[in-house]
């Protein structure tokens, strides 16, 4: 898709889609393919590597012939040159099955002084990534969850599927307590085929439980992207006056504090949490990225995708 086309994209006449899918933003990311860095297991031939190296078009490597191999696959030209038997192997490209998991717990509703709340930020990311995935002929599904799985839209690759995804995103409002780790386990069991799992959340969860859930995904051979969305207030804790902190996930739970006194401790706790997540992600070969809602969403997403493209080329 070109920049000129993006002005009319993607689904004219649909209100929800036009709200979440900003044409300007889409024009930035449409040139950036949502490439799975990992080998995908799909049925439809696409732009992603398949685990099957056999009968497709792209040459992969030579392998020495062993008895039992189909003689049709012997490279006769190489035999003529070297008088040795080799067979040709090809790399099969397959289409991507992406699951976007959006955390819609109460804490995601925090907005602070930013233009968007964390949830709205996540909605935009989910919609954009869904659009991008469908745009490159891959299939995309959506899962929203707080303490239960609220929406489960199976992956489809049809263009009209974007409407379903966007409508589901718009319809869902944040609220309730987060049970991200437990629900990720549940999702990991439900997704049987290897695919790309994009988790958009503030990850206010016990890190140990979260690590266990991410292990589960990796055990299922999914590629996992952790898109950590946080507000600037949560990252810097800039409060100075006495504040009554009311828990957004647990009504009635409140703490009256002097934030100036708490700031060092808070930031220590936060740094430990983020370090745990980053180290866990690195250990499980999971892509982890932290997004600050104070930075413009389109710039952040396009930069992220550009980084992924660089990683693919590398």
């Amino acid at each position: 898709m070109t920049a000129g086309q993006s002005n009319t994209m993607p689904m004219p006449g649909h209100q929800a889609a036009t709200t979440l899918l900003d044409p300007n933003m889409l024009s930035k990311i449409s040139r950036l393919d949502m490439v799975a860095r990992q080998v995908m297991d799909g049925y439809v031939q696409g732009m992603h590597k398949s685990k099957h190296i056999d009968f497709a078009i792209d040459f992969a490597q030579h392998r020495q012939y062993v008895p039992g191999d189909d003689v049709k696959r012997i490279d006769w030209r190489l035999l003529a040159k070297s008088d040795r038997y080799y067979i040709k192997q090809y790399e099969v490209t397959t289409n991507l099955r992406a699951f976007i998991i959006l955390d819609c717990s109460g804490s995601m509703a925090y907005r602070g002084k930013a233009a968007l709340s964390k949830y709205r930020y996540g909605q935009f990311m989910a919609a954009s990534l869904a659009y991008l995935t469908l745009h490159q002929q891959d299939s995309v599904g959506l899962i929203t969850m707080d303490n239960t799985i609220k929406d489960f839209i199976p992956p489809r690759s049809t263009p009209s599927h974007l409407i379903n995804v966007v409508n589901a995103l718009e319809a869902r409002q944040p609220g309730g307590e987060s049970s991200l780790a437990a629900l990720l386990h549940q999702v990991a069991q439900q997704i049987t085929h290897r695919g790309l799992v994009i988790i958009i959340s503030d990850f206010f969860e016990n890190p140990e439980a979260l690590v266990s859930a991410l292990h589960h995904f990796r055990h299922q051979r999914h590629e996992v992207l952790m898109l950590h969305v946080m507000n600037d207030d949560e990252l810097n804790f800039p409060f100075r006056k006495w504040t009554l902190f009311q828990n957004m996930e647990l009504p009635g739970h409140r703490l009256r504090l002097d934030p100036a006194m708490m700031r060092r401790q808070y930031l220590d706790n936060l740094r430990r949490h983020l370090t745990t997540l980053r180290n866990t992600a690195a250990g499980l070969n999971i892509s982890y990225s932290l997004f600050n809602t104070s930075s413009p969403f389109d710039n952040a997403l396009s930069e992220y995708l550009a980084n992924r493209m660089k990683g693919r080329r590398a």
């Binding site: 804490s107 009554l244 708490m262 936060l270």
Partner: protein, 742 residues
């Protein structure tokens, strides 16, 4: 109960910390927050504790203000409440013991002071075990036996620190001031922690010690106030009833006043009997530097009579000596049974005579009479004064500091430099004697001498006697210079012939005319120079035999010349070397700076040694001063190195006015009680009753003061804690989460 209840109005100050707290309370901002997991429970507790600390701090500050207001209001617990609480009451008790000279009087077998000690023991016996006891000795300088009050419950301590030292005290020799002793007793009582203070004054009621109607003394004793409710002062009299005679030796008179080494000295003194009985015989001993030198026996002395004793001794050596006359008789008061005087014996007096002869060639005829008067035999050198005669020209090169006296014998002129040196000599405390005879010129007296510093007067014309020789009269009978004339002839120089004399108009009122003609023409004048005791004597008639026949009148001329030289020689020593000094007057000693003095000490009559520092003063002299001479007796000034100088003695006589037998009258006591200086005069039987009348309330002041201190410590601790919590918690930028922040 509060002593100063209006101070409680200060309680409104409690509103200040409350208002500050309320004004500074921070308004809480509610916020919906997701990242609650980072606000850990322990931290929250800490923050809540800080909130609690705020309230605690407020409470502590309110408590501090409350306690301070209560402190200022002087809260007390009434006696009844105290007894209920503590099972008794207590007071800081101070006993003032009169230790004046009169307390040494024997009353029966014991002195009055011993009776006072017995009374003090009775007081101590009546005190409760919660009380404390101090003892103040009212001597020449009141002092407390202990630095802090001794608990009565500690019997051993009371005995060893309060009563045993009393038996070691030497006999009182000086007067005492009861008001000053009460002032000291108040200080001693203040060192006690108990609220009620009781002072017992045990004395022989002598008026001279009590000083009734001396408002200034008594106001000073109480710091300008009355005794107040908390301080009760009781008078416990111990009156002496002595039936013994009382022999007293009066002050000693030494003749001559300026004794010389090897010469005879006469000691005159009075012996009086002030007791009710006559004494059959009184043995008297004379001691010279502690060695018995003479002994006489005074026959029967009636009660109330006195007689004069005369004793003799020969001064062994030059320097400072002390002479004591004493009687060993047993009488009512031993303190006045002896009297001491200090003498400064000369070895010789160097005298320089500047003759009118201008050059050294000649026989100095003009000075032969005066030289002979000072030293009759040039070979034997018998005279105390040892004159050296020099001409005007050779005198310029003589070091004047070697001489005590310089006689300027009728020169027509003197070099200006020499006049200035003579003036400097007089300022340093030595003597200069101008004899203005036939050579004296108006230019010399009116111009040269003033330009050199001497302003002895204005010289006029020479007067002649004419047919009738003028009568010479004494104009200043008190002058020590005329002592020989006064004693020999009482009123004038009889039988002398005066032919001529110079007219001299005295310079100012400071210049005294000692001898003059009957018509008022000054013949002998004296004036002081500087502050060191230097003197200038002027004679307006010569002594060369041309203008008068004085030198031939050996009966008056010799003593007059010698007396003049002695007086001039005394100079600075006149101010310091006195046979007695009054109690409290300073000891002052000056001496040459050679040989050098390393250090000096003063031995007082109690045998205590005090270090004093000799100071070098202008004019090449050492100066030693010592002010603590309240105790009568002999003070010995010693120097280091000891061989360089002999000891110098100073004597402080007893003040006989302190023996005035008058005791406090009823009117005196009325004055003391009406001014609240004394609560009551009591007998030894009334001690317990007196103690019972004391309010004996219990002061809460010390407890509150301790509480305030504790509260201040708690407040400081809380503030420190909060300051630690409030310390900025901003993290450096490089400590912020180092993530792939997008």
């Amino acid at each position: 109960m509060f002593e100063i209840p209006w101070m409680l109005t200060g309680l409104v100050a409690i509103g200040i910390p409350i208002a500050i707290h309320l004004l500074h309370r921070q308004k809480t901002t509610p916020i919906n927050w997701g990242a609650m997991m980072f606000l850990q429970a322990s931290d929250v507790l800490k923050k809540k504790r800080r909130n609690l600390d705020h309230w605690l701090l407020l409470l502590v500050r309110i408590a501090i203000l409350l306690l301070l207001v209560l402190l200022l209001a002087w809260p007390i617990l009434p006696a009844g409440a105290v007894k209920q609480l503590a099972g008794g009451s207590s007071a800081d008790v101070v006993i003032v013991l009169d230790h004046s000279i009169s307390t040494g009087i024997l009353d029966g077998r014991r002195t009055v002071f011993a009776h006072e000690i017995a009374a003090a023991k009775r007081i101590a016996g009546k005190l409760s075990r919660q009380d404390t006891l101090s003892m103040v000795i009212a001597g020449h300088r009141p002092y407390s036996l202990t630095q802090f009050p001794v608990p009565v419950s500690d019997n051993a301590e009371v005995r060893s620190k309060l009563f045993s030292p009393l038996y070691q005290l030497p006999m009182g020799m000086a007067g005492a001031s009861i008001p000053a002793a009460i002032q000291q007793a108040r200080r001693a009582a203040r060192r006690g922690a108990l609220f009620d203070k009781v002072i017992f004054v045990v004395s022989d009621q002598r008026v001279v010690s009590w000083q009734p109607r001396h408002s200034a003394e008594w106001k000073a004793a109480y710091g300008g106030k009355s005794a107040g409710k908390q301080l009760a002062v009781f008078d416990l009299p111990v009156i002496a009833h002595s039936a013994l005679s009382d022999i007293a030796i009066g002050p000693l008179h030494i003749e001559p006043l300026f004794p010389a080494a090897g010469r005879r000295v006469t000691v005159l003194f009075s012996v009086s009997n002030s007791g009710p009985l006559s004494v059959a015989s009184i043995p008297i001993d004379l001691l010279y530097d502690g060695t018995p030198m003479d002994h006489i026996m005074i026959p029967r002395l009636q009660a109330g009579r006195s007689t004069t004793g005369i004793m003799h001794l020969r001064v062994a050596s030059a320097g400072s000596h002390w002479i004591t006359v004493r009687t060993g008789i047993q009488d009512a008061l031993a303190a006045d049974n002896q009297s001491t005087a200090v003498i400064q014996a000369w070895k010789h007096i160097p005298v320089l005579i500047i003759d009118s002869q201008l050059g050294a060639v000649g026989r100095f005829r003009a000075s032969r009479y005066i030289s002979a008067a000072l030293q009759p035999s040039t070979s034997a050198r018998l005279g105390l004064a040892q004159p050296v005669v020099r001409s005007v020209s050779s005198a310029q090169h003589v070091p004047l500091s070697k001489y005590q006296v310089v006689i300027v014998n009728d020169p027509s002129t003197l070099p200006t430099g020499l006049i200035s040196r003579l003036h400097a000599l007089a300022r340093s405390g030595k003597g200069v004697w101008f004899i203005l005879g036939r050579n004296a010129s108006q230019d010399f007296v009116n111009s040269q001498l003033p330009s050199g510093g001497f302003a002895i007067g204005t010289l006029g014309k020479v007067q002649s006697a004419g047919k009738h020789h003028p009568i010479i009269v004494i104009r200043d009978a008190a002058s020590p210079l005329l002592r020989p004339l006064r004693e020999l002839h009482r009123n004038a120089i009889v039988g002398v012939t005066l032919l001529k004399w110079n007219t001299l108009i005295p310079a100012d009122a400071g210049e005294k005319v000692l001898l003059a003609t009957a018509r008022g023409a000054p013949l002998m004048l004296a004036q002081s120079v500087g502050d060191s005791g230097g003197q200038v004597v002027i004679w307006t008639t010569g002594v060369d035999g041309h203008w008068n026949d004085w030198p031939l009148q050996a009966g008056s001329f010799l003593p007059l010349v010698n007396q003049t030289v002695y007086e001039l020689a005394m100079g600075a020593k006149r101010l310091t070397d006195r046979p007695y000094i009054n109690p409290g007057a300073p000891i002052v000693w000056t001496g040459s700076d050679k040989p050098a003095i390393e250090s000096a000490t003063i031995l007082d009559p109690h045998g205590l040694i005090h270090s004093v520092t000799p100071q070098l003063i202008t004019g090449g002299h050492y100066l030693v001063t010592w002010n603590h001479t309240g105790l009568p007796g002999l003070y010995t000034l010693s120097f280091k190195p000891a061989k360089s100088r002999a000891n110098v003695y100073f004597n402080v006589n007893i003040n006989r006015s302190n023996l005035n037998p008058a005791t406090l009258s009823a009117a005196d006591m009325q004055w003391l009680t009406s001014h609240d200086y004394i609560r009551k005069q009591i007998s030894t039987r009334e001690i317990a009753t007196a103690l019972g009348t004391v309010s004996r309330n219990f002061s809460l002041w010390p407890i509150l003061a301790i509480l305030v201190l504790l509260m201040l410590l708690v407040e400081a601790w809380l503030c420190r804690n909060m300051a630690q919590l409030i310390r900025p918690a901003d993290l450096p930028a490089n400590e912020l989460p180092a993530m792939s922040l997008l």
